[in-house]
Amino acid sequence: MKIIEDSLQRGAGTLSEYESKLFLAEFGIPVTREKIVTAKNDAVAAAEEIGYPVVLKGSGDELSHKTELDIIALDLRDENDVRTAYAKITSHKDVSVKEVLVQQMIKGERELVVGLTRDAQFGPCVMFGLGGIFTEILEDVAFRVAPLTKEDAMDMMDSIRGKKILDAVRSKPPVDREVLADMLIAIGEIGLTHDRVKEIDINPLKILDGKPIAVDALIVLDKE
């Protein structure tokens, strides 16, 4: 994959959020509509193309903790919001932000996590569980060794304590388990076919009208 080769050549240990999603989309994983811009006017144009509301995030190889750095602006509803947010993010006092990601705003209330790790003994393993801040607080996750069968993927969803999050809740439709299963299988396949992909975090994976969509993603590369 060209994205990976290019990143390794410039010595990057991770793909940016934007690159990570481009890579994941190649494997049929649904991701947010988004665009990288380097000028305020382009940000407005991108927002109009994607459709309001949008999110603006500072982008770059080393900017993987955007919330902590305060280079993220949510729920921007018009041109004025976008211009103000762009100016704020690009004038951050501690980090130099040269690129900005304009992204579709997903208002899903349910946050899941999907990931990949490499176990020293068993090789690539896929993770699924509760996402967002609950990933670390509740540690309600399940793993499966790749390759995953369809049954593995379905059983994995039933393995977490909070599995009811996938059902119809508060007038929201149930999560499309077929799509989610295909996604878990695809992550395992990436692990088996792409040695340079060391770890993957898709967190949060949100649910929009019952369909999962990757809102943030991080791919860690094997530089060795």
């Binding site: 240990g13 991770t14 996590v113 990931g115 990949l116 790790t117 490499r118 176990d119 020293a120 003994q121 068993f122 090789g123 393993c125 993770m127 990933t135 670390e136 540690e139 996750v141 399940a142 793993f143 499966r144 060794v145 593995d152 059983d155 393995s159 060391k198 770890e199 993957i200 975090d201 967190n203 991080l218 860690v220």
Partner: protein, 491 residues
Amino acid sequence: MAWAKETSAVSTDFDRIFHPERIAVVGVSADNPFSFGSLIFKALVSIQYEGRLYPVNPKGGTFGDFDVYKSIEEIPKTIDLAIVSVTAPLVAETIEACRLKGAAGVEIISAGFKETGEPAGIALEEEIKKIARKGIRVIGPNCFGIYCPKSGLTMAPGPDFSRESGPVAFLSQSGGMSVDFAQMGLWMGIRFSKIVSFGNGADLRETELLEYLGNDPETKVITMYIEGVDDGKKFFTTLRDVAARKPVIVYKGGLSEAGNRAVTSHTASMGGSRIIWDSLLRQCNAIQVHGLQEMAQASLAFSLLPQRVYNGITVAGGGGALGVSACDAAEAFNLEIPTLENDIVEEILSVLPRPGSSATNPIDAANPFVAPGAIKSTLISAAKDPRVELQILVQLLYHFKSIATLSGAPSLRQVIPYKKMADAVKETVNITNKPVIIVLPNLKQELESMEIEEVTREARALFLGKGIPVLDSLNDALTAISHVSNYYKNR
């Protein structure tokens, strides 16, 4: 680390290893009757191994009724298996001699290899691997070897192991646990096809042995104690494949997390060895247990219960707080204790002591002294409910002690109708075609009541002799049933 590739040229004659007709025991010493070699030789004689035994020691002489051979070469004709207990530096040349003599396999009991962590020991183990690749299969080093009741092959501490063959196989890195499990099997009613303690696993180890047992017609249930695996990916695919055909019960030791790993993502930071092992075992539909006791209890259930999913059960007994606690416990194991139909309840109440009994399920027989005939009628009635698939009968034998004391009976055995109990339960199973598990707690263990312990053991043996599983507590019984049930549910 790929043993499969390295040894693929050698076809392994497992039958000659597990059912050897001619065994050389190297390291037998008339001067040292407590050396491992001497002990294992005596154990083989004591368990009445029927094949030919050849003790070997460079000094020659005799050992008991046997002439000692000064070398492997001196043994007439060939050997099938050698059991080697000589000092580590002499092991390599010994097993090479065994290979040249035509042995299919060798058990290396000797220690002093990789487990020492010393370069010298590691180098000696490499020597063993090299010879193994030339065409002899190695069990060990640093192990207790093989116990196979059918052939009479046994371990050093196993002169009194059972010669009765059974459905359970055990693979273990730990020799001590192999012996413990074999000993527990004697009284718990577990019979083994094979136990292999493979120690350091220089050649034959978990994955290849698992594959062998998966195809072994003598083995119906496989149990394993694992500390680490050699080839994780091959182990995963093999376990998945074998567990699809036979239950594989796994006790994974050493699950605590070792230090902080250098990782970037949340996924990697959460994917420690414990959760990966738990997930892998579930993915393969292996039965995970967390101790030797639980492994033994599950083995008994897989050995003796009809192999199927269980949903509805009854719990019957007298004189204990069965009711609420049984229901709570069952729910946690995904088992249901259905309320019995009215006509069945009436039928049961007509034979149990009144007032005081309750027959809705759990069935409380008011006191622990209900006659075996009434217990039999009760269980037969309860089994008429189609939702009931298995019955648990809790027998509180220790309460009979007070009856014996009050009635002045000279012996507890005179007041406990335990032979009739065993007959009644066996007849119930035959009539209803639904299994019964007996729970025999002994909560009266003070020194003065040793007789209760004796009677409890006798009762256990009586029930087991009729093929009825016996466990110590209701919780143990529910755990064992749920292991069987979950295995077949997910298969």
